[in-house]
Structure formats: C-alpha cells, structure tokens
C-alpha cells in the first residue's frame, strides 16, 4: 500500500513512498521487459527498477511529508503528524530527529520546505483557539538539528493566523507564502520584513492543495471538491481558470520541467488528468479559455498482471529534473513511471520522406534509403524505380515485363500480352471475332455478349468429335476455330509440348488432355515421376476395375495438382469435370484450355463467365486472359488497383493496349491523370513526357496546339514559316533559331518584312546568327542541356522583362549575376523561376 510519494529533490534517483512506514527507494537501471528482476526489486518502467534502501517505521501514517531540498540534509525529511508534531528525521541506523511541537494539539494539514531557502519550513495546522495556524520554522537557528533537540527552546520564527485554520501552505519563491485559510480564502503573505505582511487575498473555497508552478512562479493552482482553480498571483482577485472535474480532486502538481502543465488526480480514478494552461493566458478577451486536457493512464506491462480493481491511483509525483517523467502509485502499492510525451506531428512527402517532430524541437526523418523504410514495402518506391527504368515505355511489350521481374504476375502479363498481340496479328484474318481487337481475351474470342437479362450468350458453334481411339467412356471433345485460338492464348500446344513452361507433370497433363496418353506417360517417365507414370499406365476404363477404385480413393491426397488432374480425368471422377475445372491450384490458363476441349458450348460459356467473375472479384491479373485488354477488363484492373494501388501498371497498360478506349472511359482517363501527376510530383518529367508521347501516338487529335508563337516586332507576323502560323509542333518555332547549316539562310531577319530580329543582349548579334565555333562551353551546365549543343545557341528570354539572348551567353551571365544584362533593366530574371533551383 502506498499513500503518497515524492521524488527526492536533491538525490533525484531516490523516491520516497509512505503509508504505515516510510520507504526510501533507489532507482537503478534494469534489464528491459520481459526479463524477470531479482527479488526485492520493483520494476517502475521498462528500464528502471526500485530497491528499498531505507525504512522508517517510527511514525506510522504521517499526514504529510516533504523531503528537505537543501544539499546538506543527508536525506532529511519533515513529517507532519496527526497530533500536530512536525518531525525532522533522516534515514539511517541512528535516527536523529528534531521535533517541533505546537502549543495545542491538532492535526498538521500541510508543510513545505522553502526551495529557495531550505532552512525555512512552513507548517499549516488545524484551528486552535488563541493559537496560530501557520508556523514557520528556521531549522538552522539554535542548535543544529544533528545535535539533538530541546523542544521547549524552539520557537517558530514566524507565526500567522491566530485562531484560524490553515488548509494548505505553499511557498512562492524565497519570501512569500500562500496559505489557504478557513476554507474561505487564499492569502498571500510577504515575509521579507520581520513583520509579515498580507499582500493579497482571494476569496474562494478552493483552499486545498495549493501548488506553485516552479517554471512560472506567479501561476498557482488549488482545488476544492471537483474544481481546480488556477490563479495568477499578480492578479489575485479572481481565478483566471476554473477546471471542472467529474469527481473530487485529491492532488495537484505542476510539471517542474515545463511551464503550465498541471497534473491532477481525482479520487477513485486510475488515470491522471493533465491540463495545459499555456494558452489560457492569451485568451483574455474571449470568455472561453483554451485549455488542453489530456489523460494519462499508466500503461502497465502485462507482466505485472494487475487486476482491474488495483489500478486506482493513490498519488503521483513529478520527477524534479527528468523531463516529463511522472510516477504514479496505486493503493495496492504498484509504482509506475510514465512519460508525458509532447504531441508529435508528422507528415509524409510524395518522395517517400516521413518526417515527425518530437517535443525537443527537432524533426526526425526516414526515407526510402533506410532499411526500416524498405521493410514497409512501399509500392510508391517500387513505382518510382520502375518509372525511372522506363516501365511501360519499352517498345516491345515483353521488355516491360523484365522491369517488373520482381512481380511475377505483372511479368507474365506483359509476356502474355506480347504473345497475344503477335498471335492475334497472325490469326485475325481467320477469325472474325477478333478482327478488330488487338488483345482479345477468351470472352471476345468466344463472342460472348451480355444479354438484357444479365446472362451471357454466345453464337459459337462447335464440332463434336468422338475420339474412338481413346478408351475413355466419355471422351467426346469439341472443336472450333475459336476454341483452338483460346487454347493457343492459354499457351496450349501439343505439337511443341516439350517447349511448354512448367513442371513435367503439367506437360504430361496437357498431353493427356490432348488424349495422348502414351506421350503423357513418356513425359512422366523421363522426369522423376516414373511411379506416377506406372500408376497411369495401369489405366483401365472398366468402371469396376481395382485400378479405378484405388485411384478414386487416393488421388485427392496427392500434392501435385496436375497429377491430381490426371487421375481425375482418367478415373472420370465426375462426368462434368468439375474437379478439374475448379481445381484452384491449376492455373486459369490450364483450366480454360481444358474447358475448351471438353465442355460443350453452353457449359463453356458459363464456365468462362463464372471464372471471369471470380478473377474480377480477386483482382487477379491472370483474368486478363479471359477479358483481354478490352473494356471488359476495366473492372478487373480497378479491383487490382484497389488492392495494390499500382496505378502505374494500369495506366501504362491502358495506353499500351487500350489506347482506343481511353477517350470513352472516364476511369482510364482518371488512372492516366493520376499517374502523370505522380510522375510530375517525383520530377520524372522526362518519363512523363515520354508517357504522353506514347499516349497520343495513335491519336493526333490529343496533341496540344503550339502554345507560344514568336512574332516580329515590326510587322507583327509570326517569324515561323510564312503563311502557316501556328501549325505544327511547337518545337518548330525554336528550330528556327538553331544555327545549323540547313537553317542558316532563314535566320536573322523576319521572313515577312525582312527587318532584323532582336539582338542577343550579351553578344549584341541578331538572333539567328551563328555563334562562332569557339562557343564557350558552360563550366557548369546548370540546366543539363549540354547533351544538345544546339540548344546552347537557341534564343531565350526572360518572361518578365522580355530581354534575352543566346542561351549559352545568358547562362554564363547569370552564373555570377542576378540582374538582367540589359543596361537599365533591374529585372532579377534568374530569381524569378524557382523551378530552376531544384535540379532533380
């Protein structure tokens, strides 16, 4: 059990806690949780533990205790007892005490050492007729406390408040004392003179627990019942804050390391309330003060195994020096230290920098170069890297897959798209259903169309083939141009079975699904599946054979899905091949290929529809095989995007494979816009421009009109090619000024009026004139245009003052100057364009 506790103001690693006896604890570092501590140690936080170093049991249940704040006290404490005695005592083997006894016996309500002048001890007592309520003792007077005492000789230095009650006392700096009196006033006494002077009085019922903010000494708090009053001693008539609580308050304490933070304990509460009153000071005009309230619930580790009822707090104590450390005690004696953290703010930049503040006025950063960030697996980091590598911009679709080799699904998709494109190119003349599509999926090939009722219809007609050569009872297969095209899309081809990807069992299964049992056995035999091969070789179509019976019973236990499929097929486990079609471990392609051989038209269509819906629901990119890159794939891609936020892939897929659909689909436009915005914010402008070029390649209508034309100063006509103003790519305007041989004859004068063009403000030659071959190369190529030497002799100008010249000249000029080179013009050309300051 702990009634109250206090950190020693001098030896700041010592904690006093008292109830029936007074314990002095020493803190020490300890192993972090969950390490068990040695017996006798009490864990007080993750890294700190307490051990009892001294005990004082002579004075059970003292009313109040204050530890001596002077450095010479050797752990002396003052105890106020219920009979009015005040004991000075130290821990140790020989208890040396001094005793202050009042004339009349009554309870000590409050006592406090003066922090600024540790000799003075103020004691507040209950009422006694014709005796004083407050006595102030000077412990340095008379005999030294270590030399024993004579209680009759000791007199209080100052006495105040005759026949009154002192509910609480508190020192304000060195020579002023606040006393809560008679449950009615708080009085501020000035003790600088020998005669104490009452300097101000506040009339209030909140006379209890007066405490002074050490950081800001005119701020004082006190409480009564469920209200906490905050006072300013400079304007003491009325409280500047009244904080209401739902329960009665039992203790107050200002944070000693930070201004204006008041901790407040309510009765029967397992948490503390912290009031931050700093801003209340400033809101003098508006009625409502701005107080921040926080609650602090000690976060006991599970190892302490507390029952809920034991968490009611009995008291708390701020640590005098350690920042924001507060120690709480429960009635059951659990002592725990908590930090009162400053509120952290944080933000995340588009370039993967996470910054957060901590209270000590620093900001911490991590970014994608840190291991800790890498472990987050942030898709934006991946996208940025892929964008830099030209993801989606490679001419060959297949090459884009290599950039995303770390994502198998995406890589396979690009490979398949490449394959699909070339296959479609080859076959489109035979198959009317794909003649207009570049990337058809099974749905397109099979001419599936949604009808009004929400169902799906198709007009395909397939030929039924009875494979008499094969012994299976139900060996009907179906064939049509469409079906075989879909099988090709699935990568099924029996002719080149050895070139197929995947395990030997997959090859064997595909061979078998082409009704080539011998080939399947051969493939299995060549791999390390000869046992399986043997088992299959025993195949018998007799419905009652022992082989079938055993295979049926056991094949579900096999781990390889393809071997399972082989047995399911041979044993005809079910007539509709449900086992194979819904074997989730088989790839979509293999299930679809199988369905194309063995399902009749209607069932095939409904199977394709069912599996497409499933893929869309899962956002599985393999579903593209079914939808193709057609508008039907948008729901699937949307789902993929919802799950992964990989806007990059869907945007590049859209421009590479669905260019014709972009105009009619708001969603595709949105994805493209968001991706472009992302590239812009990463300053990957070149990549964005390349993306735009690809996007608009097939759609000249989207190419923006020239945004700038240069017109002649004299005739006002464009100095671009005469007669065709504003046509063509905007770069053509600038190409006029390229001093290549081709352009030479057209330069330096206006094509319409033959007046000379403006001069370069540095070399004073007309624009368009050739710069000498000895063109000074810029020492530092600020704008990274050195790769294009022609650009150095382009004419450029300031958007504000409209003075300009050859790029190379201006570059050299502005390397040392901020002002325009034209005489008399004070334009700070180079400072105007901030973006130049951020070379990426």
């Amino acid at each position: 059990m702990v009634m109250d506790l206090q950190w020693s103001p001098v030896l700041t690693d010592q904690l006093l806690a008292w109830s029936q006896e007074i314990l002095l604890y020493q803190t020490e570092e300890c192993e972090p949780l969950p390490t068990k501590l040695r017996p006798g140690c009490i864990r007080v936080s993750n890294r700190k533990a307490l051990t009892v170093v001294a005990k004082l049991s002579d004075y059970p249940f003292p009313k109040v205790i204050d530890a001596y704040p002077g450095t010479d006290g050797e752990g002396m404490i003052a105890l106020g007892l219920a009979n009015g005695k005040v004991i000075l005592s130290t821990f140790g083997t020989t208890v040396v005490s001094k005793e202050f006894v009042p004339k009349h016996t009554r309870q000590v309500n409050s006592l406090q050492w003066n922090r600024a002048n540790p000799n003075f001890l103020a004691v507040g007592l209950d009422k006694a007729r014709s005796d004083f309520a407050v006595s102030i003792w000077d412990v340095s007077l008379g005999s030294k406390y270590v030399n024993g005492y004579h209680s009759d000789v000791l007199r209080p230095k100052i006495e105040l408040g005759i026949s009154e009650t002192a509910n609480s006392v508190a020192w304000v700096q060195a020579r002023s004392l606040l006393v809560g009196m008679n449950g009615k006033h708080i009085k501020l006494f000035d003790l600088r003179d020998s005669q104490p002077k009452l300097s101000s009085t506040a009339t209030t019922k909140a006379v209890y627990g007066i405490c002074v903010d050490n950081v800001c000494a005119h701020r004082v708090a006190s409480f009564a019942e469920n209200q906490v009053f905050v006072w300013d001693t400079r304007n003491f008539e009325k409280p500047f804050l009244i904080l209401n609580h739902s329960k009665h308050v039992s203790k107050l304490g200002w944070c000693p390391t930070r201004a204006g933070l008041l901790a407040c304990l309510e009765k029967d509460s397992s948490s503390l309330t912290l009031h931050d009153v700093n801003h209340a000071v400033m809101s003098t005009e508006e009625g409502e003060p701005a107080v921040l309230e926080r609650r602090l619930t000690p976060a006991y580790p599970n190892e302490l195994e507390l029952a809920d009822s034991t968490t009611v707090l009995s008291s708390f104590a701020w640590h005098p020096t350690e920042e924001h450390l507060i120690t709480t005690a429960t009635f059951n004696g659990v002592i725990w230290s908590s930090f009162v953290y400053e509120r952290l703010t944080l933000n995340w930049s588009p370039t993967s920098i996470l910054g957060w503040s901590d209270g000590k006025r620093t900001i911490n950063f991590i970014d994608n170069t840190d291991d800790i960030y890498t472990s987050l697996d942030d898709i934006s980091v991946k996208m940025k890297l892929r964008a830099k590598n030209g993801y989606g911009l490679k001419a060959q679709l297949r090459d884009n897959g290599n950039i995303v080799a770390d994502d198998e699904d995406l890589k396979n998709l690009w490979t398949w798209l490449d394959f699909c494109k070339s296959l479609t190119e080859k076959e489109k003349h035979h198959l009317p259903s794909i003649s207009t599509v570049t990337f058809p999926g099974a749905q397109t090939v099979l001419k599936m169309e949604s009808n009004n009722g929400g169902g799906v219809t198709s007009t395909i007609k397939s030929e039924i083939i009875n494979n008499s050569s094969f012994d299976l009872r139900n060996s009907k297969t179906y064939r049509s141009e469409e079906r075989s095209f879909v099988q090709q899309l699935c990568g099924w081809s029996v002719e080149s079975i050895h070139d197929l990807q995947g395990t030997p069992t997959r090859k064997a299964a595909i061979a078998l699904f082409h009704l080539k049992l011998r080939l399947a056995i051969k493939i299995l035999n060549e791999s390390d599946n000869s046992i399986v091969a043997m088992a299959i070789a025993g195949f018998s179509d007799d419905q009652n054979s022992l082989w079938r019976e055993l295979a049926l019973a056991k094949f579900n236990q096999l781990s390889d899905p393809y071997i399972r499929a082989i047995f399911a097929f041979l044993t005809e486990a079910d007539s509709n091949y449900e086992t194979i079609l819904h074997e989730s471990e088989l790839t979509v392609a293999d299930r679809l290929g199988f369905a194309c051989s063995f399902l009749p038209d209607a069932k095939l269509i409904s199977f394709v529809q069912e599996i497409s819906n499933d893929m869309i629901k899962k956002g599985n990119l393999y579903g593209i095989l079914l939808t193709g890159m057609t508008p039907q794939s948008i729901p699937l891609l949307q789902r993929y995007l919802n799950l992964t936020a990989d806007v990059q892939s869907v945007a590049v897929l859209a421009i590479r494979t669905m260019a014709s659909d972009i105009a009619s689909s708001a969603i595709l436009k949105l994805w493209i816009e968001r991706y472009r915005d992302l590239l812009d914010s990463w300053k990957l402008w070149d990549e964005r421009a390349e993306f735009d070029i690809l996007k608009n390649r097939n759609n000249p209508a989207l190419i923006p009109q020239p945004e700038v034309t240069v017109s002649c100063n004299f005739c006002g006509k464009s100095i671009s090619a005469p007669g065709v103003p504003g046509i063509g790519r905007s770069t053509q305007i600038f190409s006029r000024f390229i001093t290549t041989d081709v352009k030479l004859k057209q330069t330096s004068c206006c094509p319409s009026c033959r007046k000379p063009l403006p001069r370069c403000s540095i070399c004073l030659l007309h624009m368009g004139t050739i710069l000498g071959s000895g063109t000074e190369q810029p020492v530092v190529d600020m704008y990274k245009i050195g790769a294009c030497p022609e650009a150095l002799s382009w004419y450029t100008w300031c958007q504000t003052c409209r003075h300009g010249g050859h790029t190379v000249h201006l570059q050299q000029w502005f390397r040392t100057q901020a002002e325009c080179p034209v005489s008399g013009c004070t334009c700070k050309c180079i400072n105007l364009d901030r973006v130049l300051e951020f070379p990426s």
Binding site: L346, I366, N642, I667
Partner: protein, 367 residues
C-alpha cells in the same frame, strides 16, 4: 541501433505542423513560438537547410500547408490568434551568390473572419482553383477563393459552413474532376458524448452549396486529426482519423462510368475498416504515403506507428518509431490500460483545443 536523421529546427517551442510541398523538396514547419520556417532539401547531402524564418502570427501557429506549385510558392498558415494567412515567396534584393536569401516571404492576406482560434487550413485540390478551407473553434468551416491567381491579396469568403461544433481539423478529398464532387471531412474536438465527431460535406454543383452528406456515427470521441488518402484511381476513398484510437474509414461512392455526368454521389457507403488501439492513448496526427497504402500515426505514447492494409483489408502496425528517432521493437501491449478509461469522456472538460499546449517558455508567454 537505428536512429533517424534529426534536424534541429531552432524553433523555440513545440512544433505543431510539418508540411512538404508537391515535390517533397521543400518543407514548412510552424510552432508555438509564433514563427514559420521554410526548409529546402539538399538533394546530394540529404540535409534540410532553413531558408526562411519569420514571425507569422501573434499566437501559436497550428498548421501550415503548401499550395500546388502551379500557383507559385505559396503557403497558408492558421493560428491561435484567430487568423489564417497566405504567404508568397517573392524575389527580393540580393546577388546570385546567395540566392537563398534573394527571396523572402510576403504576407498576401490575413483572413480574419473567425472569432476564435483557427485550427486548420488546407488548400483544395488543384483542379478547383486556388481555394482554401479553414476551420475554427467557433464551429465554422470557411471556404475562400482567390478568383485571380495572379493576385493573392484578394480572397473572397465563398462559403461559410456551420458545423455547430468546435472544429479541430479539416481535410479535402483529393479527388479528380468529373469523378466525384468536391468533398471535405471536418473533425471536431467537442467532447459531447455520443455525437458523431466527423462530418462529411459535399459540394452540390446545382445548388451551389456545401451539403452535409454524412456524419460518421462510429466516431464519437473527440477527433484530433483526419486525412484522406491520396486516391490513385481507387474506387473508394480512405479517411484516416486520429481520435482516442486510430480509425480508417472507407467511403465508397456509387461510381458513375459516364463521361458527361457530374455524379451527385449522395450515396456514399461508409465503413470503418480498421480500428487500431495500439497507441494505448490518444492519437494526435495521421498522414498517408503518396499512394495511400501506408498510414502513419502519432500518439500520446510518444511513438509514430506505421500501418498497412493487407489484401484482406486488415490493417496492422508494420513499424514503430519513437519520438526521439529510434526504432521501437514490438513492445508488450497493454491494451487493457487504455480500455479502462475512455479518453475525453469527462462532460465538462474541454478535451483539447488543437494544438495545445506547448511548452511555452516564460520569455515567450509572459511578454
């Protein structure tokens, strides 16, 4: 042991907000010391250098936010002094040698409509023009617009939305035109029990007014911060909410796949998809990464926690960083401690004015 790179800000008091610009190469910070600082990233060294610092307000500066760079280098701030302000960086005197000091920040306007502390300020998504939303403790959201983007001194108060509860934070849904109507979420720190603390407003193009379309009934504790996830084409919006715990709310509008129709997406399906009590205490701030896939939150436990949703839509804490920049290991959770006392449930006490409390040093406060 891992320690994050720390930058001493020289702010004389608690930092209330950190904001990065569109490119992530500039940063603005604001503090209770009434100043704003602007920082630039040295790309080679990875250091942040302070390029400007000035006293922006006569009270704690709560929030700072960058406008899209197409409107210039513009930031907005809001403060306890009951104003919000718009600042623009302009070219000043100075030689090329010290280009950094060749610019300075000029106050373009002070927005004085609020009668109480302005608790948050946010620029609208770029396509809406140069539009600014503020919210204040007097319970109003105010939408300002600069009709002429070349003249930042002229701001007109376009809409004043009565929220009726003291507002603590505001967020724009970063949507794109034609897909969704403009949307804002407002959080309140009011401590009235059992009242929704997050309101969603949507702009109705036909009526030319902002309508409250939803109140999040799941969130009844005071809200300290909220943030919409950047939406990279997702069909639903995600809203991170910092309250007594961290919540992630999904708002799914009925998607309209129609070119010319501005959807009146009054139908929004709202689900709380994550509720994370790991901070064991009040959550102060939330921020999303650029793809809206990872959420960072800071709480009263002095930690920054990073959250990620998996394919199943379950959100879990993937990393914990301490305020001092060190990495925390998965510490023993003590969920029980927070469960026993709901934060801010005390009827009469104001839970928290935004910003609060700052360790105002004597020399700041008492002069």
């Amino acid at each position: 042991m891992f320690v994050a790179r720390g930058v001493k800000t020289d702010h004389k008091d608690l930092i209330h907000d950190v904001a990065f610009d569109y490119y992530g190469t500039r940063m603005a910070t604001c503090s209770s010391d009434q100043t704003v600082r602007v920082w630039e990233l040295d790309a080679q060294e990875g250091n942040w250098n302070c390029t400007a610092s000035w006293k922006a307000h006569s009270g704690s500066v709560w929030k700072v936010t960058w406008a899209n760079p197409e409107y210039g280098q513009v930031i907005a701030t809001c403060s306890f002094d009951r104003t919000a302000a718009v600042w623009e960086e302009v070219v000043g005197e100075g030689s090329i040698g010290d280009r950094i000091s060749a610019t300075h920040w000029v106050k373009r306007t002070t927005l004085v409509d609020s009668r109480t502390s302005v608790t948050d300020v946010k620029f609208a998504p770029r396509y809406l023009g140069l539009v600014l939303a503020t919210c204040s403790a007097d319970g109003f959201v105010r939408i300002y617009e600069a009709p002429d983007v070349m003249n930042l001194t002229q701001w007109s108060l376009q809409y004043e939305i009565p929220v009726k509860l003291s507002c603590s934070c505001i967020a724009w849904n970063p949507t794109y035109p034609r897909h969704f109507a403009p949307m804002i979420a407002v959080g309140t720190d009011d401590s009235t029990v059992d009242v929704p603390k997050v309101m969603i407003y949507e702009f109705n193009e036909n009526l030319r007014r902002w309508n409250r379309i939803e109140s999040l009934k799941d969130i009844t504790d005071p809200v300290n911060d909220l943030s919409f996830a950047p939406n990279l084409g997702r069909s639903h919006h995600l809203l991170g909410v910092a309250t007594k715990d961290l919540k992630v709310v999904s708002l799914e509008p009925s998607m309209v796949e129609d070119e010319n129709q501005v959807p009146s997406s009054n139908k929004v399906t709202i689900r709380t998809i994550a509720q994370c009590p790991d901070h064991n205490s009040t959550v102060w701030r939330v921020a999303w990464n650029v793809t809206g896939t990872i959420l960072a939150s800071s709480g009263d436990d002095g930690c920054v926690r990073l959250w990620k949703g998996n394919y199943m839509g379950n959100w879990r804490c993937v990393s914990i960083l301490r305020g001092d920049g060190t990495q925390a290991n998965a510490e023993p959770t003590s969920a029980a401690a927070s469960a026993t006392s709901p934060v801010g449930s005390f009827g009469n006490s104001r839970f928290m004015k935004l910003g609060a409390a700052a360790a105002l040093k004597q020399d700041v406060v008492w002069h």
